[in-house]
Symmetry: C2
Subunit: 199 residues, 2 copies
DNA sequence: CAATGATTGACAGTCACTGACACTTTCCGG
DNA sequence: CCGGAAAGTGTCAGTGACTGTCAATCATTG
């Protein structure tokens, strides 16, 4: 089935990565809105048209890594045991977000990305849109899981709980830095404060 | 100080309202992305340039009402007593959102707006961006309030709690309709489930 | 009536993004 | 080694959101 010719996919990813790094440097230097796609394409050494063959939009260059983190997060959540509470499963699914920060290189890149995103209202909105999409799919997953284990799940409450967990994640990443020694406890503190009474 | 020449402001609002109603009709009929600003301007009977004198962007036409609701919500929260818990203050601040739905005309408009927003990923993202902005300002307000009443407020936790409350609101407005008899209890149910242990 | 300031339309320009087409490079069986 | 399909690329033209500018109009006020 058409998903993933491995050899070519690798080189595609390599080109995407090259574009992303180049673009991020420009975004940091001049700002996101102030950098045109033409400039990025020229800096990479390709036509504007080709840029859009690797990224569907200018936003995508920055949000692509969020997408990938979302997939991992989704996979982690799916791997959690059915008996575990929704809240704890979510907290564990967030582990990679914290663990990533152990690598200084990753930490630096996250910092840069965060700076770019939070400096542009439009990008920030697009970012939140992605998170919302992710929350929807995680909610569905959890509702289905609850149904499997015999519970009668309340879809609205599950959705609210997932939203609450992401609110904790968002608050932590906003107020605490990218230092894992600070971020982790910070996330735990917020998630303890908001822990649902039952679920 | 420069805020609000009353006479002219009124007529400006009237024009904005006329544009908004016209545009919303077109959005429902053809979809948001498929409706061009030229079409809206022509339908209202003005130049495209003038359209942009009343709304900074096409998004703004739809999100303007969200903005106004946000201001009311902010004012309500500020009016709550300092002694009240953060969570209860937020729940009470949400009251106008529920009460608005008592008026069938308002309910219908909310339904239309909701339909338009949720049908366009870009608009939805912009909407979430506004909510995020609102959450920031409410968080600041609550942190300051907690400081006034002698508590030592934890800004991160407050931010997470505000985010959690909005997650409840969002979940309710997503899963329950615009019927106030359904929406209200739905909101209460989610907010009871997520009520923070202390705060 | 004349001066003034706000509102507007017309026009031109930028930038994100898309579709079409021609060209080249790569790959593969014969 | 060759011929042709497949994939990648550049060029060009076009759409649509948005902005700056300027001249004309309109209402207000002295």
């Amino acid at each position: 089935m058409g998903a993933g010719g491995s050899l070519r996919e690798v080189s595609r990813r390599a080109v995407q990565s090259r574009i992303a790094r180049t673009a991020e440097a420009l975004f940091v230097a001049k700002g996101f809105e102030e950098t045109t796609v033409d400039e990025i394409a020229a800096a990479v050494g390709m036509s504007q048209r080709s840029f859009f063959r690797y990224f569907a939009s200018k936003d995508e260059v920055v949000l692509d890594s969020v997408e990938r983190l979302g997939e991992e997060l989704s996979a982690r959540l799916e791997a959690r045991p059915c008996g575990e509470s929704v809240w704890d499963s979510l907290r564990r699914a967030f582990d990679p977000v914290v663990e990533r920060l152990a690598d200084p290189a990753v930490r630096e890149r996250d910092r840069v990305l965060h700076e770019i995103v939070s400096a542009s209202p439009r990008l920030l909105a697009a970012y939140l849109g992605r998170l919302d999409l992710l929350q929807r799919s995680l909610s569905e997953l959890l509702v289905e899981r609850a149904g499997r284990s015999g519970d009668e799940p309340d879809a609205v409450v599950v959705r609210a709980i997932v939203g609450g967990a992401f609110a904790c994640l968002q608050a932590a990443s906003l107020h605490c830095g990218t230092d894992p020694e600070v971020f982790g406890p910070c996330l735990d503190r917020t998630m303890e404060a908001l822990r649902p009474v039952a679920a």
